[in-house]
Symmetry: C2
Subunit: 185 residues, 2 copies
């Protein structure tokens, strides 16, 4: 006697909610079960939903960013500088690590933000290779306006999730990220 991930995951929602409608991922899994019954596709229950959730959330957040003349990339840079606290200065490398993008992406993000007068880039005194990126008053004002709206959008997205499931979701993602080595090195 042995357990597959499948047996644990097959329609867990059906247990909690007997009348629950099958979602997109349920249909995908059912299709695979018909086409390749020899394969255990239960991991798709996790990753299929992760991908769809990310896309739905991303689209919703982008709508709010656009209302403030921003996109996710620009908001990310301004918010990272803001939350770093006084004097609201970071190096491109620091921004790069926080954003999980390449150095080239950060260079271009900063080009755009600098052209709009939202950040400044100055040479570092301590290290001639490095730059210091700082929020301008305009950048400061913009992120102060956009942040509460962004949080309101996030609260709205979580409206349909009860507190227990929200906590469980955070706990699982935290555990998984730790297991995958995120946040340590």
């Amino acid at each position: 006697m042995w357990l597959t991930v499948t047996s644990l995951l097959r329609n867990p929602g059906a247990i909690a909610y007997p009348g629950a409608v099958a979602d997109h991922v349920d249909r995908v899994v059912a299709q695979w079960a018909a086409e390749r019954p020899d394969l255990d596709v239960s991991p798709m229950e996790v990753f299929g939903r992760l991908k769809r959730l990310y896309r739905v959330v991303d689209a919703a957040l982008n709508r709010t960013f656009a209302e403030h003349g921003l996109d996710a990339a620009s908001f990310d840079v301004l918010a990272t500088l803001k939350r770093s606290g006084p004097p609201y200065r970071l190096t491109p490398t620091g921004l790069m690590q926080s954003a999980m993008v390449t150095s080239g992406a950060i260079t271009q993000r900063l080009d755009r933000l600098e052209a709009r007068g939202l950040v400044t880039r100055t040479r570092s005194d301590q290290d001639g290779r490095s730059r210091e990126v700082a929020l301008t008053p305009e950048g400061h004002a913009l992120i102060e306006r956009a942040l509460p709206a962004h949080l309101a959008t996030e609260v709205g997205l979580l409206e349909g999730l009860d507190d227990a499931r929200t906590a469980a979701l955070v706990d699982a993602m935290r555990t998984l990220l730790a297991a995958l080595g995120d946040g340590e090195e």
Copy 2:
């Protein structure tokens, strides 16, 4: 006396794992608490981790796709055709809805796959506006090779997550997706 989402979410991992190391999102939340203690940034516990998890997973899956001469977009199309079952034919619109991308993106994906001889595109008999996309024998063979490798990668990614948390993660994502209207319309 009232509860904020914050009080429910603040370091839930610390309860389950007293010695748990703070992750990237914990640091972000702590920074906001110092800079803007008036704001409840607890929703970021969810969305910050969703974003990072998506990126880490995406990178890992792409590595496996690349080993088979594929990327996520191409794999997605081939897998969607494969799991649709005999005769392994779908319209671009069907592929578009499954992939959550625009029609232009599907056109370009199909251009690339057609050029590599992995799919064919023919006029539909029933509807002159529509096309029928079908797997070629080469496309069939490629997805048959890539799919088990892909599943193995997914199983590996879930290694660090115990069964209870895996089930809770799926349940929460399913609930949230349903609340956000995914999979119904």
